[in-house]
């Protein structure tokens, strides 16, 4: 007892480290700033340099050449054509789907939602693969049933693939928008004598205008930058993203690749900015509104919307069924016997690429989730001078098309002294950077929920910033960390556009092999590879969910009501 009172007779302060909290924050900010600078801005700069410099002088020769070569110049027109049509159709389809899920009382909403989200976990070329199996030169419907020569390769193939690829992305935005707008406005309008169609056009649609613009911009951005679907189903119909690849990988014309990249950057950045600012605006309108009570919908409305949701869901399921089934069929569409032969992958050395993809995805998940959490902490909590710049750098990657980033990496790092070039590490870095925006934004959202006084309490009790981070902030961010980890894992498993420039003779990735297999005419194997990737992603998700459920249901995670 004497011992005890002696210890607390005088006040003590905790020992402090050699470097202060402020210095640590500055050091970490500089480090992250450097990473983004070196692995994002430097590659972009290399592209600009390549496109504008000829023999050390500023020159527009590449641009002149671009517009004088009809085949290449056409790609700009093609890209816009495909992107605009996909944008309009996808936004409308997604809007009605979101409307059905939020504003009607149809049954099976959860199932519909799950089905429409499925494309998020699959390689972004599965839509094109399915269309080819059904409507291609040897398509089940075209060649086998209708016996016609017509096939889907070209603009319409790309557009339909893009629509199904982009639907979940547009739906998420419109779903959020529509569930936030108060339906009592609709009722008020109805009570004033408006009929159902008037209410829809004069009230519901205008009230969702921010969501509509934001979704349209996102679809435009995704479509114009997409590489996988156009390369598989485009045929001779070239778009900007595929033309970059053909120029660089096919013809070794790096300057033309860089020039096309710059041209692609402009609409893609513009669409990103529209989406970014509008969604910021609409989210500020959304916050804090109560979910309104939904009146039972009329019979005809329920039947109509249920039919619509079934139709869309059926199309999506058809895509998956076709690809999975196609992977087992011996010779599509002639020999319908089932076999596992397509799963042997002899031409690409078996399952090695899958294993590489898997461990790279794990590493990407860990690095990506950690880095975005720390960056989020710097920007949202520590806020040193210049943290706004760090924020700006962090949200930029979403604006940059993958193919552009991939080419940028070649131009910037293909030097003997960058020893990570040609190794898996350049792929890891690339995937982490390319998907930085979403990781960062989700970690900021999470950190916003941690009460500032929690950290101040730790500090006033004597904890250094590192202790506060590891003992308080990180434990409270575990769930968000896991989510970002899963996001990065999935992206890494299925991504194509950027890393197709970075795979090498020694480093193969499964998602890229789908394209090579398809190019080799091994459709069955391409389907098989896509199927295996989806199985891996799905089982990984399942395992993580299972572990997560056990781990995060301990009492400390129970939310108190005070």
């Amino acid at each position: 007892m004497a011992n005890k009172s002696e210890s607390f007779a005088v006040s003590t302060t905790p020992p402090t480290g050699i470097i202060s909290d402020r210095q640590i924050v500055i050091l970490v900010s500089l480090l992250i700033g450097f990473i983004l600078f070196f692995f994002m801005l430097f590659p972009l700069y290399s592209i600009l340099k390549m496109s504008f410099l000829k023999n050390g002088h500023f020159s527009l020769a590449s641009y002149y050449k671009y517009f004088r070569t009809p085949r290449i110049a056409r790609s700009l027109h093609h890209s816009f054509y495909v992107a605009i049509i996909s944008m309009i159709v996808t936004t409308i389809l997604a809007f009605f789907f979101a409307y059905a899920l939020t504003r009607t009382t149809i049954k099976g909403k959860n199932i519909f939602y799950t089905i429409i989200m499925m494309p998020l976990i699959s390689p972004p070329i599965i839509q094109a693969l399915a269309l080819i199996l059904l409507f291609g030169r040897n398509g089940l419907i075209t060649a086998h049933l209708l016996k016609t020569d017509w096939s889907i390769y070209g603009a319409w193939g790309i557009i339909i693939s893009e629509i199904f690829y982009c639907l979940p992305h547009a739906l998420v935005i419109l779903y959020t928008t529509l569930s936030a707008v108060d339906t009592r406005i609709d009722e008020a309008a109805e009570s004033l004598g408006a009929n159902a169609f008037q209410v829809f056009w004069k009230v519901t649609v205008p009230s969702a205008k921010y969501g509509l613009v934001s979704a349209a911009a996102l679809v435009f951005n995704l479509t114009i930058t997409d590489f996988g679907n156009p390369i598989v189903i485009g045929g001779n119909y070239n778009v900007l993203a595929t033309e970059i690849y053909s120029q660089v990988i096919g013809l070794q014309k790096f300057d033309m690749g860089a020039t096309i990249s710059v041209i692609l950057l402009i609409p893609s950045v513009a669409a990103f900015l529209v989406n970014y600012y509008i969604s910021k605006k609409s989210f500020s309108l959304i916050s804090g509104q109560a979910r309104p009570f939904l009146r039972p919908s009329r019979m005809w409305k329920k039947i109509g919307f249920t039919g619509y949701c079934i139709l869309i869901s059926a199309c999506i399921i058809l895509i998956y069924v076709t690809v999975v089934f196609g992977s087992f069929v011996k010779v599509w569409p002639y020999d319908w016997r089932l076999s596992f032969t397509h799963y042997n992958f002899p031409s690409i050395g078996g399952y090695a690429s899958l294993w590489t993809s898997f461990w790279i995805a794990i590493v990407v998940g860990i690095i990506g989730a950690s880095l975005t959490l720390v960056s989020g902490y710097i920007v949202e909590k520590a806020k040193p001078k210049g943290s706004q710049l760090l924020y700006l750098l962090s949200v930029m990657p979403a604006a940059i098309p993958g193919t552009v980033m991939g080419l940028g990496y070649i131009l910037a790092f293909n030097r003997p002294y960058y020893i990570f070039y040609g190794t898996p590490w350049i792929i890891i870095i690339n995937v982490v950077i390319c998907n930085y925006t979403l990781g960062m934004l989700s970690s900021i959202t999470n950190l916003k929920q941690i009460d500032k006084s929690m950290e101040e309490a730790a500090t006033s009790l004597g904890a250094s910033i590192i202790t506060t981070f590891t003992r308080v902030v990180f434990p409270l961010s575990k769930v968000a960390f896991m989510q970002t980890f899963i996001y990065y894992f999935m992206r890494s498993m299925v991504t194509i556009s950027a890393v197709i420039f970075l795979v090498s003779a020694t480093v193969h990735l499964a998602a890229i092999e789908i394209i090579y297999l398809d190019m080799d005419g091994r459709m069955g194997s391409a389907n098989a590879m896509a199927t295996v990737i989806m199985v891996i992603v799905l089982s990984f998700l399942g395992v993580v969910r299972f572990i997560g459920k056990k781990k995060f249901s301990s009492p400390q995670m129970q939310q108190s009501s005070v």
Partner: protein, 356 residues
């Protein structure tokens, strides 16, 4: 030697906004000081400057004879209790309390006995291994209190610690904080916007408004001799009249009032304030016999039953006057809504302020 905390011309600006404007204060060791003021007047900002989470724009903070403006929060050894409790949800009650001790690298056995001692202090011994979310709000704030006290801080700062709690628990916990302060003799600085809380708990009350200190004094001084009309209004209840000097009297509309002391106010335009409990009422004509001046005839507007007392709102020549009478007296008075009555405003009951 006693350790004093001194604020000297302390100023904080957020861009154009002057949140705290040249305030001065001395806090003696073991003193319980309470900052009282409406929301947004700068209380939290002062507290955050004292703890080191905000850097003063100007002025000095002294502690124990040293300027501590630039000292990092960890080196100040000031404990803080937040309105939101700010307990670490991922740690048990015991781990929460041990946190500050672990940071100071105390040996395990000392930490353990100190945690027990702290839990004992607030009667939460058997909750040691529970998580904060499993406790009630009042219990959580008790834990937050002893978590801050465990490393034996030089000063304990509490920022509206009871605002998130129910009225009943608030009053219980208020008494408990006062008891702890007495037992431990710890210097405490307590922030609140609740005047009743401030008056009941503090040795010294600092009334704040718009970044400046309006008055510093004991609760009794603040209540009985408010220095400004803001203090008279914010602390307790007062009736206000705007008036003009007229000879030795003060004219308020049609009324001519006698005021015992001008309180050193020389201006011609005045604000008079009088507490409800100083005012006397009676049946028509009865008060004339008792007093010579300041008796008027008013009309009862509303009578609100408030337990022991009844609050009367009386219409007096266009002014609304509030007064409290005991329930029994009110019964005896037997006056109903809309009826006239006599009202007496004692000359020595007035507080006088200049009208700006």
């Amino acid at each position: 030697m006693s350790k004093e905390l001194v604020l000297e011309n302390l100023t904080k600006k957020f861009g154009e906004l002057i949140a705290v404007n040249k305030v001065n204060l001395e806090v003696k060791e073991g003193e319980f000081v309470c900052f009282l003021g409406p929301s947004g007047c700068g209380k939290t900002t002062i507290l955050r400057m004292i703890t080191g989470f905000e850097i003063p724009t100007d002025g000095k903070i002294w502690y124990d004879g040293k300027v501590i403006n630039d000292l990092i929060p960890q080196k100040r050894n000031f404990g803080i209790v937040f309105q939101s409790y700010a307990l670490f949800p991922n740690m048990t009650v015991g781990e929460n309390i041990a946190f500050g001790l672990k940071m100071r690298k105390f040996p395990k056995n000392i930490i353990e006995s100190r945690v027990e001692e702290m839990l004992n202090l607030v009667g939460l011994t058997k909750w040691k291994d529970y998580y904060p979310a499993q406790l009630s709000g009042g219990q959580q704030q008790r834990v937050a209190l002893v978590r801050a006290l465990a490393p034996n801080p030089n000063v304990l700062l509490l920022d509206e610690p009871l605002s998130a709690l129910d009225a009943k628990i608030r009053i219980r916990l208020r008494a408990e904080i006062k008891r702890l302060q007495n037992e431990l003799g710890k210097t405490m600085i307590y922030v609140t916007h609740d005047q009743e809380e401030a008056l009941s708990i503090a040795d010294k009350v600092v009334v704040m408004e718009a970044g400046v200190f309006e008055q510093v004094g004991t609760p009794l001084e603040i209540y009985q001799n408010p220095k400004t009309s803001f203090v008279a209004d914010f602390v307790g209840t007062s009736n206000f009249f705007k008036g003009v000097k007229e000879g030795s009297m003060v004219r308020v509309g049609d009324l001519l009032l006698k005021v015992a002391s001008a309180n050193g106010v020389n201006e011609d335009r005045l604000i008079l304030a009088i507490r409800p409990e100083k005012i006397e009422v009676g049946k028509r004509g009865t008060l004339k016999k008792k007093y010579k001046e300041n008796i008027f005839s008013g009309r009862l507007d509303v009578a609100t039953f408030m337990g022991v007392v009844v609050r009367l709102m009386i219409e007096l020549n266009g002014n609304e006057v509030i007064t409290d009478v005991l329930y029994t007296d009110y019964e005896e008075l037997g006056i109903k809504h809309g009826e006239s009555l006599d009202i007496y405003l004692p000359p020595n009951g007035f507080m006088v302020f200049p009208d700006k």
